[in-house]
């Protein structure tokens, strides 16, 4: 199935969860990344159980704390 991750459409196997996607995409500090699925926030507690489906759009929103 095709999923758009961070603006890029890629192929993933059926039944991939958001947690697995975070691992597949080698997301740094995944516990502290906000995930939006089809422009809705995914609660932390649902990251492991949310199954992705064809056409989903996922964004990873990273903490960025520097600036001074």
């Amino acid at each position: 199935m095709k999923i758009t991750v961070s603006g890029q459409s890629k192929e993933y196997r059926e039944g991939t969860t958001i947690k697995e996607l975070l691992e597949l995409e080698k997301v740094e500090a995944p516990l502290y990344v906000t995930v939006s699925l089809n422009e809705k926030f995914v609660p932390n507690a649902k990251v492991a159980s949310t199954l992705l489906k064809e056409g989903d759009k996922v964004e990873f929103i990273y903490f960025m704390g520097g600036g001074r």
């Binding site: 520097g66 600036g67 001074r68």
Partner: protein, 268 residues
């Protein structure tokens, strides 16, 4: 009141922009902006806002200029080492544009002073380097109904978003709670390319000027991200404000400000 001949010349490149013009310039001259942090982000923001003729600029920072700051904090120079950053910044801004009033506040923002610091300003700019400060600025601005622009930079990456009360998600809607100390690197630990402050700080200055003059579309409800290694910008549409957000939601549970422990920059 009209603009003086000197102002007509100084701001001539603004005045010929139909989106700014005399009325926009007058708005800038009558505006008050508070910058929290006079470092990598705060330096370009302060300089562009002063050059643009923002009437009053407040700068809050408790730090003094250090040699390691000069790789990116272009508002300070080598002779300023050891000087309070707010003093050094005020001197640079005065040279740039003496008609701008600069309020130099050499202190650290915290839960007990931030509300009184922001209350006299129209727009707040986050130029801080740690999550406790970023959450504090968000929460105080939400509570005081003040618009602000958030930004962060690290290594070769940067992000920016704007909050306007009632119009979109706040920083806490997006990030919930500060990460535990050391869980996410900051630029002191991870490094940052100096020019990143220029890129992202200039974006903060743009958002500020656009807000003050009512020009264009703000990054409200969007997070703009930049990766200098690939030169890729992404404007990510954020979900709407969370109804259950602890600070901006319909039943806020966070009603007093929090001084989170600042350990994110342990490797100073």
């Amino acid at each position: 009141m009209g603009l003086t001949n000197e102002q007509l010349e100084r701001y001539s490149r603004h005045l010929i922009l139909k989106e700014i013009g005399v009325s926009g310039q007058k708005k800038l001259l009558a505006s008050k902006v508070l910058l929290i942090g006079a470092g990598g982000l705060g330096a370009p923001v302060a300089m562009y806002l002063a050059a643009a003729g923002v009437g009053k600029i407040g700068i809050v920072d408790d730090d003094v200029v250090d040699l390691s700051n000069l790789q990116r904090q272009i508002i300070h120079g080598t002779p300023d080492i050891g000087k309070p950053k707010v003093t050094s910044a005020k001197e640079t801004l005065h040279d740039l544009n003496p008609e701008v009033e600069v309020e130099a506040l050499q202190e650290k923002v915290n839960a007990s002073n931030i509300l009184s610091l922001i209350q006299n300003y129209d727009f707040i700019v986050d130029g801080t380097d740690n999550f406790p400060a970023k959450f504090l600025i968000n929460d105080a601005c939400v509570m005081a109904k003040k618009p602000f622009v958030h930004a962060g930079i690290i290594r070769f990456k940067g992000q920016i978003m704007t909050y306007v009360p009632g119009l979109g998600p706040c920083y806490r809607c997006v990030f919930r709670d500060p990460p535990p100390p050391e869980a996410v690197p900051t630029c002191r630990q991870a490094g940052v390319l100096g020019a990143m402050g220029g890129i992202i700080g200039s974006m903060e200055a743009l958002e500020t000027i656009k807000y003050l003059t009512g020009t264009g579309e703000l990054l409200v409800g969007y997070l703009l991200t930049f990766d200098a290694l690939t030169m890729e910008w992404r404007k990510i549409k954020l979900p709407p404000a969370r109804k259950d957000c602890a600070v901006c939601g319909s039943h806020p549970t966070l009603t007093t400000l929090i001084d989170y422990e600042e350990k994110a920059c342990a490797l100073q």
